[in-house]
């Protein structure tokens, strides 16, 4: 049974469709990459599946015992938080808020998990630092640590490597791969980095003028990827 099933999904804003008739499903352990041009509706799709905005039509079903409270999310950066006074520790801990229910404080177990997530992102030295004074790459890792606090099942990542330098980008991909392979976390990732998508993903969802959903190998065989990269130089 799939974790997430989308059937004949239409999405957009204020009744104006951006995508229509989209169907795909994500099963436990999958690594799905969503690719497509700027403005093709990738973020919108993610926000719709996360329930942040209503679909214009079609069906989104959670399965396999998955609840909204077990989902981690790394949003595409929003400028709203620029001046926010918040320490790295506070930001990471806030990942547990969804599973807290009405409980007003964090449990010891949650604090330990936050500490271990901070460590696995290599942020130990920054724990007490102010979030807004970190570099873009450091902030991104803080947000990933927060997303990991929210879930041990399913991660939604909206362009996790945008603004990261090549070294940190490679590191980030390695981390995500490790989470997927070793911790068994299902990953749904939006990326413009088609080469990386083809290297790491098990499934590809391509949206835009041509829509494709299938395994990575089927995608390679379909020839759409070469249209997208404009050359077809991946192997």
């Amino acid at each position: 049974m799939a974790l997430i099933t989308c059937q004949d999904l239409s999405l957009g804003y204020d009744g104006r469709e951006i995508i229509r008739g989209l169907s795909f499903e994500v099963s436990r352990g999958d690594y799905l990459c969503i690719v497509g041009e700027n403005g093709s509706g990738k973020s919108t799709l993610m926000r719709t599946v996360l329930g942040l905005q209503p679909p214009l039509g079609g069906l989104i079903r959670l399965g396999d015992g998955l609840s909204m409270r077990e989902i981690g999310y790394l949003p595409q950066q929003t400028p709203i938080q620029r001046d926010f006074p918040a320490s790295v520790w506070e930001v990471v801990l806030s990942g547990f808020e969804g599973s807290c229910g009405l409980r007003p404080f964090y449990s010891r177990a949650e604090k330990q998990r936050a500490t271990s997530n901070i460590r696995s992102m290599g942020l130990e030295d920054l724990t007490r630092r102010c979030y807004r004074e970190l570099s873009g790459g450091q902030q991104q890792r803080v947000l990933l640590a927060r997303a990991l606090c929210a879930t041990d099942k399913l991660l939604f990542l909206d362009e996790p490597v945008s603004g990261l330098d090549p070294r940190v980008t490679t590191e980030m991909y390695r981390l995500i791969e490790q989470l997927n392979r070793e911790n068994g976390i299902t990953v749904i990732m939006i990326s413009h980095d088609i080469a990386a998508a083809l290297r790491y993903a098990s499934h590809i969802l391509h949206i835009g003028d041509t829509v494709f959903f299938g395994t990575r190998d089927a995608y390679l065989g379909s020839g759409i990827s070469s249209l997208f990269t404009g050359g077809g130089d991946e192997q």
């Binding site: 996360l50 938080q81 006074p85 808020e97 004074e133």
Partner: protein
Amino acid sequence: MTAVPDKLALYWQYPFVRYALAVGVLISLCSSLLGVTLVLKRFSFIGDGLSHVAFGAMAIAAVFNLTNDMPLVLLITTVSAVLLLRTGQNARIKGDAAVAMISVGSLAVGYLLMNLFSTSGNLSGDVCSTLFGSTSILTLTKTEVRLCVLLSVIVVLAFIFFYHKIFAVTFDESFAAATGVRTGIYNLLIAVIIAVIIVLAMNLVGSLLISALVIFPALSAMRVFKSFRSVTVCSALLSILCSLLGILISILAGTPVGSTIVAVDIVLFLLFSILGKMLGGVRT
């Protein structure tokens, strides 16, 4: 000329002075708590609009000659808070326009009502004291004092209980909603708390200066401190300090309470700005 301590001791004997100080401390504590949220989230525009709504509500209460106008003002302000939040949620711009309409509208209608129906001989005095809270904190009745204390305690408790939720929803609403936090309810809660705070703060500084009372301590704290908790604690302490100083100065010097408090707030903001520059802003 009496020395300042003697003068204070003299005033301390009057119950209204003690009430004023106690209520002033509680109100300023409450109003500082959501400062950060108000400064940084779209709630800032709601806060500003609501203070004008509260003015309109006061005018209506004055027309009906209500002796205790707080419940009515509280009701109207809370309902407006919820409505404003609703309109503001879908599209930013529509929300802003709605707030502008409602806030300027209530100012105009409030003043009109007071003009048409007021039985008081000193209309501009009344309006001025509603807008700037010139003496209201010193003229609170026992019932009003009780109500203020009760509301303040509720606000503080609610804030402590929902502290982490308020942080999560203010810091990153999308993430909170995506991971199962019921952001709609907490937005509502924040809006209602803001409404209550505004009605409380109106007693202390009058409707035009509420934003100053709410925002200055948070802005000052943010100059020096960098984590949500330290900013919250610091702005609470600052706010209490400012209103104590402000009330005392106004009693001693005979200046209007509200503007004196805000003046003290401004001085502290300048001090904290300098302090923040000197520390280089690496505090947590």
